[in-house]
């Protein structure tokens, strides 16, 4: 029931909010987002507190709903939550709530804040649905639900070049969706089922090796566009740069995770043999993303673009973890996902706050922020330090253990990838400190001469991200404790690698 509620509440209220007046609409929307967030916390309650362990590969949802949906086409409305999806669901409902709160006080220039709130709720439905779906076709449907509202958010409330960026975003990711659709139907046609649980338990339900390979490549490219994986990433900098603050937060915070989650749950889950054969390519591209992303950041001069490119590097670590196909790597990817959502969400909030106040995001025209806005500068420093992967904060675990996983796989290729990824970590530190030096240190630039104090909206919407970045950093088991068993069984007790031999 909670599974339905977590989707129904935002869906229903999205319509209600759109019909209400502007101010009341935003308030009702925020209330709905709060309710959704609280409901999503309840997903941790297990239907069967002590399930019998199922041998081999298995998905064991804590809560499950499986009803016929379109009986004629044999489609089922199959939802479930387990330790892999739960943290992402909560991250989504939390970030949506924070964005709604932010929109209560701060509406971008285009106005009509209630519509923005309504669209945020629709996007929430799509993203949460994607994380909960246990049926391939349903997964695809939710995956697509997100696309158009996000397009609208960028195209209506975005910056100068919003139309071009929105179009590029929607067309590029639509290209990915087509491949996803083809991949899904390849699998359904070959196996006669779209049930992710069954397909995972049987490691592809007897698909031939070639079919698995083809299906995996199709799915992987589709998810790689979303994640994004170099060289399929170029929609992201434009979309981020032009999107309004809340759009960037959702985009970086959770939308990208649909790609990495899909890769783990669907691509690796359903076509493990294909995954095992393509993994080295995925690993190489992931490390290329880390290095390219961080080097581009080192030469970047626009604040939001820099943070966008930093996402390419961070998601590179997540993808490297997945590519190792080991329990260590996939756990690293999961916590990397959450950490990136928290930290980059915060960074985009901050970039928005700075841009709103200084009226520029050009690093050469910013400077001396700590002289005129010490609190803002302090929080920016915290977020940047967290993002560069400082041990003790959330970002560290995913990146360090992606390196561990890569090294653990052994052999010259994976060893080189581990070393290259670690070097990428050092470049990451270099560009974030360069960013801080340009923005916060030195004499105050004219653009930051008069900085309004932080508003309550900003405090309220940032504080949870700051606290969680610290808490997840100190207690990573909060995220990973529940993911351990599902990942262990997904990877055949530790590693899928033997599968391709």
């Amino acid at each position: 029931m909670i599974l339905v509620a977590v989707l129904a509440i935002p869906a229903v209220f999205a319509v209600v909010v759109a019909l209400l007046g502007d101010r009341i609409g935003r308030i009702v929307g925020t209330a709905a987002a709060t309710l959704t967030f609280l409901t999503s916390l309840l997903l941790a309650v297990r239907d069967d507190p002590d399930p019998l362990p199922v041998g081999g590969r298995a998905i064991q949802p804590w809560q499950e709903l499986n009803v016929p949906w379109v009986p004629g086409l044999d489609l089922r409305f199959h939802l479930g939550v387990d330790g892999i999806s739960y943290p992402l669901v909560v991250l989504t409902t939390l970030l949506t709530l924070l964005c709604c709160v932010y929109t209560l006080w701060m509406v971008p220039d285009a106005g009509r804040g209630r519509l923005l709130t309504a669209l945020l709720l629709v996007i929430e439905v799509g993203i949460v649905g994607t994380f909960l779906a246990l049926d391939l076709v349903l997964f695809f449907v939710f995956f697509e639900v997100v696309l158009l509202p996000m397009y609208a958010v960028i195209a209506v409330w975005g910056g100068e070049g919003r139309r071009h960026a929105a179009r590029k975003f929607v067309l590029y990711t639509l290209f990915g969706s087509v491949l996803l659709l083809v991949g899904v139907f390849t699998i359904v046609a070959a196996t006669g089922t779209a049930d992710i649980i069954r397909l995972t338990a049987t490691s592809g339900a007897g698909m031939s090796r070639t079919t698995q390979l083809v299906a995996f490549v199709l799915l992987a490219v589709a998810f790689a566009v979303k994640s994004p994986l170099w060289p399929l990433h170029t929609w992201l900098p434009d979309a981020h740069t032009e999107a309004p603050t809340v759009g960037s937060v959702i985009l970086a915070g959770v939308l990208l995770k649909m790609g990495t989650y899909g890769l783990i749950r669907v691509a690796v889950g359903v076509t493990p043999d294909g995954a095992a054969r393509v993994a080295p390519v995925l690993g190489v591209l992931a490390v290329a993303a880390i290095l390219v992303g961080s080097l581009v950041c080192l030469a970047q001069t626009a604040l939001k673009r820099l943070i966008a490119y930093s996402s390419v590097g961070h998601m590179g670590f997540v993808l490297l973890g997945i590519a190792t196909l080991s329990a260590v790597g996939i756990q690293a990817a999961l916590i990397g996902n959450i950490a990136h959502g928290l930290i980059t969400g915060l960074l985009f909030f901050l970039a928005g706050a700075i841009k709103d106040r200084a009226h520029t995001g050009d690093l050469t025209r910013l400077g001396g922020l700590r002289e005129t806005a010490p609190t803002l500068a302090g929080i920016l420093g915290f977020a940047a330090i967290a993002s560069l992967g400082l041990p003790g904060l959330a970002g560290f675990w995913g990146e360090a253990f992606a390196v561990v996983a890569s090294f653990q796989r052994g052999g010259p290729l994976w060893t080189v990838l581990a070393v290259a990824a670690a070097i990428g970590g050092a470049v990451t530190a270099a560009y974030f400190l360069r960013l801080l030096r340009k923005v916060t240190h030195g004499p105050a630039a004219p653009s930051v001469a008069s900085m309004p104090r932080l508003s309550p909206a900003e405090f309220v919407s940032w504080a949870p991200l700051i606290v969680l970045t610290l808490v997840v950093g100190l207690l990573p088991a909060l995220v990973l404790g529940m993911a351990f068993d599902p990942v262990w069984s997904l990877t055949y007790d530790g590693s899928l690698v033997w599968f391709s031999r």
């Binding site: 170029t234 390219v292 581009v296 030469a299 700590r370 041990p391 003790g392 561990v404 996983a405």
Partner: protein, 609 residues
């Protein structure tokens, strides 16, 4: 409280003080000072309590998180050397916190500063007590970021932000190796626990690789060639921070970690040889660079580089306990020297020795404290530095092989250079005629600054005598720290020569800088052999150029292909649309032609059937 609880509390107390301090509004000086001093004092008391109660090494651990088959444990591994280093950290941190209250009396960002010092202390104590390499890495890197924050603290210095970034990036480059070294060890042992790692022997090649990777991180943190370049620039930080970084934290961490993981390094000869060569180069390089600096803090900074190399040298010749002994004495006298230099700077208003002179009359306490500190630095008996340096040279002379000879010879030569530059500093600062108005009317600093300096003079003078106590030797895990035989004459003679040489040069013209006798070498030493410039040309500029070209390629080629596809499709669409947007006559012709074509096809196909 049981020792199992106290161990984790050692880093936890200053950490909590730091968290609370960071949340304070910037103006609340008193609360910030209470938190800062309280955190350091709490840690020190716990360290004292543990040192009195713990006889046997013990460890505690709880699982923090488990990645696949690799657990990460939070816990402490406490043995005697741990507690000695923790004591040193506690003493220096407390001295620095007390001193800072007065030194930063008119600084409006004192509150975050004090909190960051607490965080720094907590991070170092975490490195010291942690029984797990991943948790150790947490402390290791947090210390790096604190040094970044604190070095960049002073807003009046334009070079401070750059120096701060440099300190973090250079050490982070070394930490790439450090992380990979930990990964190699952890994956091999199936655990990151130090006890497991040390107990799981690696193959010779893997062991050597792991040790060398770790050494990269150690070289970064402990400022050894070629990653030493951040340390002199770090002098842009407030002087108490220099004392903190240079005495018992940060730079000491590298030495401490090697001593703690010593079996990993001593398993094969290559890491020890690398340590020896690194020590020999850094020792001389640091000492020679110190001879030509005018900035009093930079002289001390280079002397830190050089003294750390002595500890590395001890590690290279198989004497980690002796390295820790020098770490402890150095912590005392270097903290003293930096804090005393801070008092001098406070009085004169400048770092440059060319604006000082004759300060001994106006600042007797500072003068005598500095004299003790410098005496300990050059190894003047019976001050602390004499015993520890002598123990290192003795360890090197007892060992066979070229590494030991290298360490011994460079160690003795460095004694000469150290004696020379320390004497120069002493004479230029406290003797002769004052060379600026401020130096004519010097004043002793307020009590909060004077007391820590005076109290640190006690261990600087007397800590060496601990070497006579069997208990101390056992705690460090070494035998016969004291070598009172003919061999001590060599460094003593060399030391006398160094002091006399500096004094004779200075006496000829007490207003001039004795560094003038260096002649053409003076700029070379002053610029530390131009290694900064080499680093800039070989690493920094190429990386920047690479970054710019990668950005160009990403924007023009990778994204260009995407935009090109979009534009191309659009143009194709327009072209097709253009064909369809025809006038009525052409459209009618086309329709007729189409109908005709279909008709013909129908006839043709029908005919075939």
């Amino acid at each position: 409280m049981s020792i199992d609880t106290l161990g984790p509390l050692l880093p936890a107390v200053p950490f909590v003080a730091a968290l609370l301090g960071l949340l304070l509004p910037q103006r609340s000086r008193t609360v910030a000072a209470v938190l800062g001093i309280g955190g350091a004092a709490g840690a020190l008391l716990i360290a004292i309590d543990l040192a009195l109660r713990v006889d046997e090494p013990y460890s505690t651990s709880v699982e923090l998180v488990r990645f696949g088959n690799l657990p990460v444990m939070f816990g402490v591994l406490i043995d005697q050397p741990t507690l000695l280093v923790a004591l040193a950290v506690g003493v220096v941190a407390l001295a620095v916190q007390v001193y800072s209250v007065a030194y930063l009396a008119d600084d409006d960002r004192y509150a975050p500063y004090a909190a960051q010092v607490s965080l720094f202390t907590a991070a170092m104590l975490l490195v010291v007590v942690s029984g797990d390499l991943i948790v150790l890495l947490v402390g290791w890197e947090v210390m790096g970021i604190c040094s970044y924050l604190l070095i960049g603290h002073d807003r009046r210095l334009p070079e401070a932000p750059k120096a701060a970034v440099k300190a973090f990036i250079v050490t982070r480059v070394g930490d790439v190796g450090f992380l990979l070294g930990i990964v190699v060890l952890g994956v091999n042992a199936g655990s990151f626990q130090i006890a497991d790692v040390v107990g799981s022997p690696l193959s010779t090649t893997e062991g050597t690789v792991a040790a060398l990777l770790l050494l990269a991180g150690v070289a970064g943190k402990s400022a050894q060639f070629p990653l030493h370049t951040w340390l002199p620039d770090a002098m842009a930080g407030p002087t108490p921070i220099s004392a903190l970084i240079h005495a018992a934290t940060m730079v000491a961490a590298g030495i401490y970690v090697v001593a703690r993981l010593y079996p990993v390094f001593s398993a094969s000869p290559v890491p020890l040889a690398v340590l020896g060569v690194m020590a020999a180069i850094t020792m001389l390089l640091g000492a020679l660079a110190a001879t030509a600096q005018d900035d009093i803090k930079r002289v001390l900074a280079w002397s830190t580089v050089s003294q750390l190399a002595y500890m590395v040298g001890a590690l290279a010749v198989g004497a980690p306990g002796v390295a820790l002994f020098h770490l402890l004495t150095h912590a005392a006298f270097k903290a003293l020297l930096f804090l005393a230099a801070g008092s001098v700077i406070h009085a004169v208003g400048s770092n440059l020795m060319s604006t000082m002179g004759g300060l001994r009359r106006g600042m007797p306490v500072t003068f005598w404290s500095t004299t003790i500190g410098l005496g300990a630095l050059i190894g003047l008996p019976p001050l602390a530095g004499f015993w520890s340096k002598d123990a290192i040279l003795a360890a090197a002379s007892e060992e066979t092989g070229w590494v030991a000879v290298l360490v011994f010879v460079s160690g003795v030569v460095t004694v000469l250079v150290t004696a020379w530059y320390a004497t120069r500093l002493w004479l230029r600062t406290f003797f002769g005629e004052p060379r600026s108005d401020a130096a004519r009317h010097p004043h002793e600093p307020p009590g909060a600054m004077a007391w820590p300096v005076a109290l640190l003079a006690v261990p600087s003078a007397l800590l060496g005598f601990a070497a006579f106590s069997g208990g101390f030797e056992t705690r460090l895990g070494v035998h016969d720290l004291v070598h009172l035989d003919a061999s001590i004459l060599v460094p003593l003679v060399v030391l006398t020569v160094g002091v006399l040489a500096a004094w004779l040069v200075w006496r000829r013209d007490t207003a001039a800088d004795p560094a003038r006798v260096l002649g053409p070498l003076r700029p070379v030493f002053a610029n530390a052999f131009y290694i900064d410039n080499v680093q800039d040309a070989l690493v920094v500029q190429p990386v920047r150029a690479l970054a710019r070209s990668v950005r160009r390629v990403d924007e023009s080629i990778v994204d260009g292909a995407v935009e090109g596809t979009g534009d191309g499709t659009l143009r194709l669409g327009e072209a097709v649309a253009g064909v369809h947007r025809a006038g009525l006559s052409r459209a009618a012709t086309a329709v007729l032609a189409g109908a005709l074509l279909i008709g013909l096809a129908a006839v043709a196909l029908g005919g075939v059937q």
